[in-house]
Symmetry: C2
Subunit: 195 residues, 2 copies
């Protein structure tokens, strides 16, 4: 009955992604995942140290891109930071919306766990950049609503095709953001050209 390790490992990962997407991380038990795979709960814990490690492996690609975006943002200020944050985050959300979706509303609690502690800081820097590093309350509120709204909305965007979702989100973000500096307006409607 013993399958190749990579096979079962991958099956568990896929099953976990499916269940998390439906019932969330906390709402999905190891038993649920095992049932979906057709193995025992002990097998799940043979392939993954614990439940958190399972989530971490699922989120790893998205987190890597998030860190890259964070690096790319350091040093940028004002409108340049705002632009880069907007484009980068929309790209991230579109590419990894399935991964983001399976966290549903559990960001606040998950970010408190040690394994994801640094994500908290990254997301705060991202919000700051999206606000153009302005300390005006309106700018900070706008940035927060956009980040939270896009993150939470991902669950419902799963079936929207990329080339429809990306321009829609980019347009929304660009329109919502006030230019941080009137002498540096948004680049002239280049709707979609970036990495």
């Amino acid at each position: 009955m013993a399958r190749a390790v990579s096979e079962t490992h991958g099956e568990i990962l896929a099953a976990a992604a499916r269940r998390f997407a439906v019932t969330g991380y906390r709402g999905t038990s190891l038993q649920d995942i095992a049932r979906e795979v057709g193995c025992s709960k002990a097998t799940v814990l043979y392939h993954f140290a614990n439940k958190e490690a399972l989530l971490a492996e699922l989120m790893a690609p998205a987190i890597a891109v998030l860190r890259a975006l964070d690096d790319q943002l350091t040093g940028l200020t004002g409108a340049a930071a705002q632009q880069a944050a907007a484009v980068g985050f929309v790209d991230l959300a579109v590419r990894f919306r399935r991964e983001i979706a399976l966290l549903r509303g559990e960001f606040p609690e998950l970010l408190c766990q040690p394994a994801f502690a640094h994500i908290q800081q990254i997301s705060e820097r991202l919000r700051d950049a999206l606000a153009g590093h302005s300390d005006r309350p309106g700018a900070r509120i706008t940035a927060l609503v956009l980040l939270a709204g896009i993150s939470e909305g991902c669950a419902e965007f799963v079936d929207v095709p990329d080339d429809e979702l990306r321009p829609a989100l980019l347009t929304l973000v660009r329109r919502a953001l006030e230019p941080v500096d009137a002498s540096l307006p948004q680049p002239p409607t280049t709707e979609d050209k970036e990495t």
Copy 2:
């Protein structure tokens, strides 16, 4: 030791609100609430039929206003619906941001519970109105991001004063929404006069 019923009842309610705001609904046990009040878990369940009833009583005022907004929206179409939905929802979010905040990211799961089933439908109608009843994907995505973002952001708006939060949200929503009908643009920058 027995206090007047209204007294303990209110203390439990207040303690629950405090705990829910910190650790969320699911992350707060009846034991936690009892500890905060200084009574036994059985006492909590003497005053409230179950945990869900506690939450329902906490959310009742907000839900009543939400239903009123829903009623007010029926019959309106296009830009009129969009305007009314925007102003109404921003008002709701500002007034009841503490109540909304204590749900954190648990909307999706709570809305599945029978006691809150109708909220699901109301929020869908609200989203539809905010999109100006348009079926353009962009409009629907924008409406969803705004609703989700403001709902989820409430937890962080708790300390922002009303007269700072409301205009900021109104400006954001008005700027983000595309006018559903070019011949009916947004009313000329009357930033803040409504019920």
